[in-house]
């Protein structure tokens, strides 16, 4: 295999994209503005670029930009080149994850994609999206707009892994519309250096007993700026939400926002943020917000920020670990992937990826 291809595949592996498509039910790969791979091996999954899908299905117009409208937000940007369309048919139970990758290869390239995911009633699916940039891609930009529609009783587990370069600027923007009894799980991992990521994904729980869970593992390196939030609007009766974040600043800056807004009764929502400062430089800013218009709600938040305890380091040193090993093992423990709601089939892979990145980042 030529060296360049091999290196590219290594970059893909870092964001969870399996070029051999092993243990994947469908794949989509976009490099800059070119769609390089589209394949589905499951008849219940249709996958293509959003532009092609819009041409093929006129009914898609009722979804296109609708999630943002429903959230009362203006649609970001105007021109899009690519992005994936995923349509999971009614009652499909897909065991292996769908994988997508949006990759930046060219220098100073602006990638603007619009992703559209529709999970029909009663279907269950896992989606892993890896976004990254090659070391040659200097000062590039990624705008990723995503709309998720999770229909009645459906389940979507979405895991996004970012692995950019320290000059990349990234703006993911997404809204999920979650219907009655449906579940939307979003796991976000950003552990490698990046110039700036600003994102505030939002889930609208529009049907009774709908659920949303956002988890994130964030590591801010020197000169990295991460402004990461999660918002859930609990619009229907008996809906529930959970937002859990772990943030580390190693001389970088990280803002962890969370906003839970109850617009109905008997909702249950919890927000949790834990931060670890590894240096006197850097900054962690936790901004938790709880908002309700109803009495009959159960909403809570907890946030804690600190440094690695001396006692923990001393304890591990007395077990023959060096100070550096002790620090590394404590940080890796803090960033344990157990807080994520990962499907079994991705668990060990994501765990290995995150542990490797943290180890090399320290």
């Amino acid at each position: 295999m030529p060296m360049e291809k091999m290196k590219f595949q290594e970059e893909l592996i870092k964001v969870g994209f399996n070029s051999q498509e092993k243990e994947r039910s469908a794949s989509f790969l976009q490099e800059d503005d070119k769609v390089k791979l589209v394949r589905s091996i499951a008849s219940d999954i249709e996958i293509t670029s959003t532009q092609k899908a819009l041409k093929k299905y006129s009914w898609l117009k009722k979804y296109y930009k609708k999630a943002f409208k429903e959230a009362g937000k203006g649609f970001p940007g105007d021109t899009y080149e690519g992005g994936y369309f995923i349509w999971v048919k009614e009652n499909a139970q897909i065991f292996f994850p769908i994988q997508t990758c949006l990759f930046l290869k060219k220098n100073r390239f602006s990638q603007k994609v619009h992703n559209l995911v529709i999970v029909e009633e009663g279907a269950q699916v896992y989606l892993i999206t890896g976004c990254g940039a090659s070391p040659q891609s200097f000062e590039s930009y990624h705008l990723g707009v995503s709309e998720f529609f999770i229909k009645k009783g459906a389940y979507l587990n979405f895991t996004m892994i970012h692995n950019w370069q320290n000059s990349t600027v990234v703006d993911p923007k997404s809204v999920a519309v979650v219907e009655e009894g449906a579940v939307f799980v979003s796991n976000y991992i950003c552990l490698s250096p990046v110039k700036r990521v600003t994102m505030y994904p939002e889930a609208l729980l529009v049907g009774e007993k709908a659920k949303a869970r956002f988890t994130s593992l964030l590591f801010a390196h020197p000169d990295s700026f991460l402004d990461i939030g999660s918002k859930v609007v609990l619009k229907a009766f008996s809906t529930s939400a959970e937002v859990i974040s772990r943030a580390i600043s190693n001389k970088g800056e990280v803002i962890v926002r969370g906003h839970l807004r109850s617009e109905s009764s008997q909702v249950k929502a919890h927000l949790e943020c834990q931060g670890l400062m590894l240096s006197e430089k850097g900054r962690i800013w936790a901004v938790p917000q709880l908002e309700t218009f109803y009495q009959d709600v159960d909403m809570s938040h907890e946030a804690a920020i600190g440094k690695i305890s001396k006692e923990e380091i001393e304890y591990l040193c007395s077990r023959t670990l060096s100070r550096e090993e002790a620090k590394s093992i404590i940080v890796r423990g803090f960033m344990n992937t157990d807080i994520l709601f990962l499907p079994q089939v991705l668990k060990s892979e994501v765990e290995r990826l995150t542990q490797e990145v943290i180890k090399s980042g320290l």
Binding site: E314, F334, N336
Partner: protein
């Protein structure tokens, strides 16, 4: 004649600018066990922490030699790597690190980890975050488990049996005794109850009062005297140095 493994010479140490240990002299020989008695607050744990070089325990006079070499300027991890192991009384909780993770760091032998965790009744704790929701007895067994996997040549035990029920003391005593014999390990043991002495054969006993080692003698005789007359009698004792 046995070689010495640890020699403490004229050691005085302070914690938060307060002098706790006063002119301690003590030698522990290879493959031998020394028991340290003393009332609460007499400085016994401080001695163990000073030997380990823990943060905040400052030597102001004297020296500590391990296998003939001074260790007073070495970091805790260097002392541990040389072969000194310690069982913690109140170990910190560490999130995201399981007992199993530490076990595999300390030993590469799967069979040893499985056997020892079975013997110490720790199988159910292996996957749990370290020291989270461990009972008092579980902490002691987990500490003994880790320190044995570490294979030190000198084992410092600070009240290994406190808070442990009799059945578990018997389990721990058996495991400890086997380890000390099999690997010819020396140990310094602090005990209040003396239960652990039923399982191990100590050569030497000593009593610490107000930061001074006031007596060195036969461990069972010292323990018997303390049991009958308390530490008050120690102050007038014939063996007092």
């Amino acid at each position: 004649m046995k070689e010495e493994i640890l020699r403490i010479e004229n050691l005085s140490a302070e914690v938060s600018s307060q002098k706790i240990l006063k002119n301690i002299n003590l030698t522990i020989e290879e493959n031998s066990i020394v028991v340290l008695f003393g009332p609460n607050g007499s400085g016994k744990s401080t001695l163990i922490h000073t030997i380990m070089g823990f943060n905040g325990y400052k030597i102001i006079e004297g020296d500590i030699f391990f296998k003939g070499k001074s260790i007073k300027d070495l970091s805790t991890e260097k002392r541990a790597q040389l072969g000194i192991g310690v069982m913690f009384q109140r170990p910190p909780k560490i999130k995201g690190i399981s007992l199993k993770d530490i076990a595999y760091f300390l030993s590469s032998q799967e069979e040893e980890i499985q056997d020892l965790s079975q013997r110490l009744n720790l199988k159910g704790l292996l996957h749990r975050d370290l020291n989270y929701d461990f009972s008092g007895g579980e902490i002691k067994r987990s500490e003994l488990f880790q320190v044995i996997l570490q294979k030190p040549k000198l084992l410092l035990l600070d009240e290994p049996e406190s808070g442990v029920d009799l059945e578990n003391i018997s389990i721990m005593g058996g495991v400890l005794s086997d380890y000390l014999k099999e690997y010819k390990v020396s140990s310094l043991i602090i005990t209040h109850t003396g239960y652990i002495l039923d399982y191990i054969k100590a050569e030497k006993g000593c009593v610490m009062i107000d930061g001074e080692l006031i007596c060195v003698g036969h461990p069972q005789e010292i323990f018997e005297s303390i049991r009958r007359f308390g530490y008050e009698r120690c102050k007038e004792c014939q063996w007092r140095k």
